[in-house]
Every structure is written in C-alpha cells, then in structure tokens.
Amino acid sequence: DAGITQSPRHKVTETGTPVTLRCHQTENHRYMYWYRQDPGHGLRLIHYSYGVKDTDKGEVSDGYSVSRSKTEDFLLTLESATSSQTSVYFCAISEAGADNSPLHFGNGTRLTVT
C-alpha cells in the first residue's frame, strides 16, 4: 500500500464531538489528499496539501480542517462531527501532483457519527 497508514481504521463517535483522523506516509511524497467516499457520490476531495504547512480546499471542505506540520503526516479534523460526515475516509499521496502522477491510497477509515 505504498507506505501509507491511516488511523484509526474504524471509529464511532457522537454528534458534536471533535474527531481527528491521521494519515502517515513513509514515501516522502510532497502531495497528500483526503477523500471521502459515499454510495451514490463516489470519491470526493476534501482537502489536499502540496507541502508542509501548505494546504487547500477541495470540493467538500465545509466542516473539515487539515494540518500538515511534517512531510509524513496529514491530519483531518472534524471540529464538531455531524451524521452527514458518516463516511469512509481515504488518504492518498502523490509524488508530483495528481494531474501528472498516480495517487496511492491508504485503506481508509470508516467513521460513523451517531
């Protein structure tokens, strides 16, 4: 899995609680991405990072924040989880940007917000 670890793999949390998902890579790739995958919507980009401390929003960024203080770690935070954020979250990395190099994905975090 291209040296990508997502943690936790599963999480159940209550509405209104903060949640942080972690993505750790050992490939030293510059680009990192957070996606969510839902039935009927496919994979949608939440946020991405193009370097340490450099991040930008994707198409479904509302309710999410990210941080990247080290090359190897990209954190996704749900400040106050809602039921609509129940989903499978995937982290991906890319050596030279997704527009001209492949994405390598982790195996996902299944998040349930009750």
Binding site: Y33, G42, D99, P102, G106, G108
Partner: protein, 110 residues
C-alpha cells in the same frame, strides 16, 4: 464544474471475454487521464495513466484509449478472469480540480 460519467450499472461478463468500460468527461480535456481499481474495503489502486497525445496505452491484459474529440476514454480488460472482478474508477485532474467518476463494477463469472 468538472464531471466524469461512468456507467453505474454493473458489468457482468463471462470469463475469457473482453470487458469494455466507458468514461465520459465534460469541460476541457485533461492532459492526463487515469484508471484505478477498487476492491471492497480497500483503497483504489492505480492501474494506468494515459496522456492526451497518446491514443492508446497497454499494460498486460489492460488497454486504455483516450479520445479528446469525443471526450471519452475506454478501458478494456481482455481475456477476463474472475480475479478481475472489482470496481474500476476513471479519474482526471486539472490543477486542483481532481475528479473521480462513480465507478463501474465488473463481475467476471467463471
């Protein structure tokens, strides 16, 4: 907005036959188009990348074509095997616009 459309209906195919999947996109043509495979409970896995100036790309039993006039890519699995059963995703990127299609599920029957 960017859109990628893939046939949402599952494709059932007999072992040994060729599976052909379609990816249609809107707006401007990307410089690259990519295909991924996803198995249940797993993240997508990269298969092939095709550039706009390449008409066709092959990797083992896989073949991808890219027609910028039709705004379409075709993905072929030749001599299909039950192990090819999975969901296949089309992906295009242009700057920070990274768009996946909804995927087509392929089921290869022995």
């Amino acid at each position: 907005s960017q859109k990628i459309e893939q046939n949402s209906e599952a494709l059932n195919i007999q072992e040994g036959k060729t599976a052909t999947l379609t990816c249609n996109y809107t707006n401007y043509s990307p410089a690259y188009l990519q295909w991924y495979r996803q198995d249940p409970g797993r993240g997508p896995v990269f298969l092939l990348l095709i550039r706009e100036n390449e008409k066709e790309k092959r990797k083992e039993r896989l073949k991808v074509t890219f027609d910028t006039t039709l705004k379409q890519s075709l993905f072929h699995i030749t001599a299909s095997q039950p192990a090819d059963s999975a969901t296949y995703l089309c992906f295009k990127a242009a700057g920070n616009k990274l768009t996946f299609g909804g995927g087509t599920r392929v089921l290869v029957k022995p």
